[in-house]
């Protein structure tokens, strides 16, 4: 857990990073370091929804699981890297 927190601390020091979290595919937060403007339960639920939905669509269409997903919106650029179970969002 300490290594995870250390990595997050390093990430938060990078310019423009407003938060990062390790979230399981079913929406449980393993570790987090988020700006006060984010609601952690909303971030977890939405990241889980997005990853599950994308994984399911890939699976239904006979494609392999994803390794990385980056979204871009007007005010933020959330990125997710996925291994078999945990999801990493920042």
């Amino acid at each position: 857990m300490n290594r995870m927190q250390d990595t997050m601390a390093v990430l938060r020091e990078l310019g423009g990073v407003r938060g990062c979290a390790v979230i399981t595919l079913d929406g449980l937060i393993v570790a987090k370091s988020l700006d006060a403007s984010f609601r952690q339960d909303a971030v977890a639920a939405l990241a889980s929804f997005l990853m599950q939905n994308t994984e399911r669509t890939l699976h239904e269409n006979g494609m392999e699981p994803l390794t990385m997903l980056v979204l871009q919106a007007n005010y933020a650029r959330p990125s997710s890297c996925a291994s078999t179970t945990p999801t990493w969002s920042c």
Binding site: L46, F49, L69, V70
Partner: protein, 365 residues
Amino acid sequence: MQLIQRMRIWKELKRLEQRVREEPSPTSFVDLAQVHINLGECDKAVEVAEEGLALFPQSVELQQLRRFAHRSLLRNRIHELRERIAFGPNERLHNELAMILLELGDFAEARQVCEDCLRRFPEDPAARLALAQALLGNYYRDLASSEGAEAIRCLSQVLTREPDSLQARRLLAELLCRLGAPHAARPHLERLVDAGEEVAELQQMAGEADPDGCAEDVDRLLAAVESGEISLQQPRARRKPLGNDEGLGQIRDALARMVDSGSVTKAAYIRGSKAIARGAIRDGKDPFLRIVRSLAKSGQRFARRLDIGNFSKAVLEGPFGTICICSYGEVVAAIECTLGSDVDALLGQLQELVASSLLQRGGGQ
């Protein structure tokens, strides 16, 4: 609803109202209207959507939201009207209900309401006209000749009882013109002209119809439309604009250029339910198109709920390669490329494609 819950919603509403005033954008209006819809205040949601559309008239999201809120309002009214009809049926309530159902496109239900009204009030002219409109709606949707014939019979009945009903005469003239029966439509068009009605479009449709139609048989024409032998003429207002093909040609060229560049295997431009595709895409059910549609939709939902603005781009990587998506409103452009391609450059090209297509439509927000 509990007091604390009410206070939370009230606080959220105040925050969104302030955001609409301070940072007006289609998203802020959509968020506020969405809360009103969730509270069951569809009338307020319509007001907010209309305010937003006054500032951002091209916003597809606001247009969809206004349509949704308006339809929800109508559904509530249907419920209310049905309850009142159950207690004390009268022609006015039946007609209002039928007109709402027609507006919602529920022609089968509208027909049932009109028939019920005519059983109780056989002399009601408005119910007979609404019944004809429901039959016509059914006919234009399914093109079943029996329904077309029934619609013509019903409109003729309305005109027999009320020869001055311009609406019924126009509907009948339009149906005959679209079927390609200009001679049958002519007396109705003449009556409409005499009454000072604008019928230039119908006259043009009648003029475009087959000149050999002197011996026109409406029943035969209805059967030919049903079997697909001939097609119904479209009023000019509903035809595709001529400039559209040119715009589509440019999109096709841009997609083909991307595929020809080497690293891109599939490219697509999607607007609503339609797509233009280039590269190794088999058909409309290709997995690439499904994934792009799904990811664009969930990305939009994700960005809105997390309050980070409108979703614009996505990059999805896996053993299959890289999928890049660029989205604006209902327009999505996407490519699938091999791992290690210059993703930023490709996203730039997709953005250019989406922006230029919106400019050609005179769209954008």
